[in-house]
Amino acid sequence: MKTYKQLFSQLNRAALIPFFVIGDPDFDTSLEIVKTAIDSGADILELGIPFSDPIADGPAIQKADIRSMKSGMNMAKALEFIQKIKEYKDIPIGLLMYYNLVFQYGIKKFFGDFHKAGVNSVLVADLSIDDADEITEPALSSGLDTVFMVTPNTKSDRMKLIASKTTGFIYTVSVLGVTGSRNELSNQIDGLIAKLKKITDVPICVGFGISSPEHAVSVAKAGANGVIIGSKIVSFVENNLENKSKMKEDISAFLKQVKSAISDNKS
């Protein structure tokens, strides 16, 4: 199974990391979309398991969660989905989800089962570094990498603590706010990446609000090891619910644009 370490050491540019909600709008379409994303140049997949109360998410991903849950997504199907992706291609997969789902499944069992299915890391959106011990040991002993968030208002001492507990990559949030497409890229991002680079060698991937190839390039230029694009991609699903081939075409075209833009910006 391909690890983050292998991937980041091979790349001489920023990794392209699209985010999808598993099962949005339904299991089969979602699987096709994610395969399309892989074919269009995704380096890592960031996948969400839908939750009833996603407090870190803006409207686009909230709606994706609802579509997925209405189509019958559950833990067993999420596992099956990940296995199918891994059968298609050995690509690193990070999960991004909310704590209650992990907690109800059983923390140790969750990490064990999902690692076995092919997951590299699990980022729990509503679990801060203060309570990281609840998941770090079971995650590491299951063979997973750890991923934690840093936000523009995280203090330096905390950044160091977060970096020390992170084995995968630091999920760097570009703005104060929830997920969602934004017209302007946050002006805080360059400083935040520079600060992190001084503190740690752990790879830094940037997400929240990245909505265009230009955004991706400027994040890559600032030194990010990866660019995570969520709401913008999820909006292609929402905008083409009646036309699934256009849904895939739009996602593919967008990802190829971003990939080509960040590939021209080799470090």
């Binding site: 909230q62 833990m75 570094i129 968030m149």
Partner: protein, 392 residues
Amino acid sequence: MKYKGRFGNYGGFYVPEVLIPALEELEDAFYHFYENPQFVKELDELYKYYAGRPTPLYHAKRFSEIVGFKVYLKREDLLHGGAHKVNNTLGQGLLAKYMGKKKLIAETGAGQHGLATAMIGALFGMETKIFMGVTDIDRQSVNVHKMRLCGAEVVAVEGGTGTLKDAINDALRYWTAHVTDTFYLFGSAAGPHPYPAIVKHFQSCIGKEARQQCIDQIGGLPDMVVACVGGGSNAIGIFSGFYDDKNVRLIGVEAGGMSLEEGKNAATLAIGKVGILHGAKAYLLQDKEGQVYDTESVSAGLDYAAVGPEHCLLKDTKRAEYFAAHDEDVLNAFETLTKSEGIIPALESSHALAFLMTHKNDFSPDTIAVVNLSGRGDKDVSIVEKHRPLKQ
């Protein structure tokens, strides 16, 4: 954070990283100011002259006759704004002022906390936004109007079932984006640390007063203290005054809704299991995979899938007992108190009264019960009219 904010294994602060600095700042400020003499003096004066504390402990003799034992009402319904919520909004509002914050946000279910926040926003000249589910806006329109009159913006929340849980989701999302200049005035003894501790502190005046009034007026302590529980702020406020009085039973009454079937009630402590929502580990109404259930109750203020973490510990340690009252019994209690005493109770508080009525055969005539009448029912008359049209 200085403290873990745990009640046994419950509580904590399970929030995204972006909210941690704001919770730290709040924790710092609270422990810095809450015993500061100037702060205490200012808050006491506001309690007395603005809100109307102390509230009376009233022996409801006619209602007592109906249930067959002595019932005293702690009259939080007489407070400015019509509910106990102002105890907390004055406390947190003053804290916000001491912290130099100029903007307030709050969630609300029945609108009582929203109104109490809007009042304090007006009083302190702070820009105020209230997040409220569309279902609740519809069923509590009088409170919506009052909030707007006070100058607050009421933000309609469409997600989920348009009730309290959805309002908290959107308030948290808004706070995430405005965390540097906005004070989130949380209304219940729930949510992430330090809110359960803060809300309990500002509501503990109910219990302190009630205990002293029992001694002064009755000559001793009651046999039980009964309060309704949604998130649980009024209950924790009155219970906390009697924690050490082991002979006083503490009884919390949740919303049993239509039935104890899944999704038909808000009886979290009765049928929920431990989970994590809105920053705290607590009992939670959820399916086996952890998706949070929709809730249903005749009272918007109790219509919540989680519950304050301290109540979870009180349940486990058996220091408090929790029951659920069904909508029909709640409406009966509402009508009974109104007809027998001329006091219109909030539907939330009517849950506590409903417990006394449905369990009246369990108690001997010399039993003394103190009920926290946490709010008045003016806001509920149209809901009651829908369920129980008046015969002319």
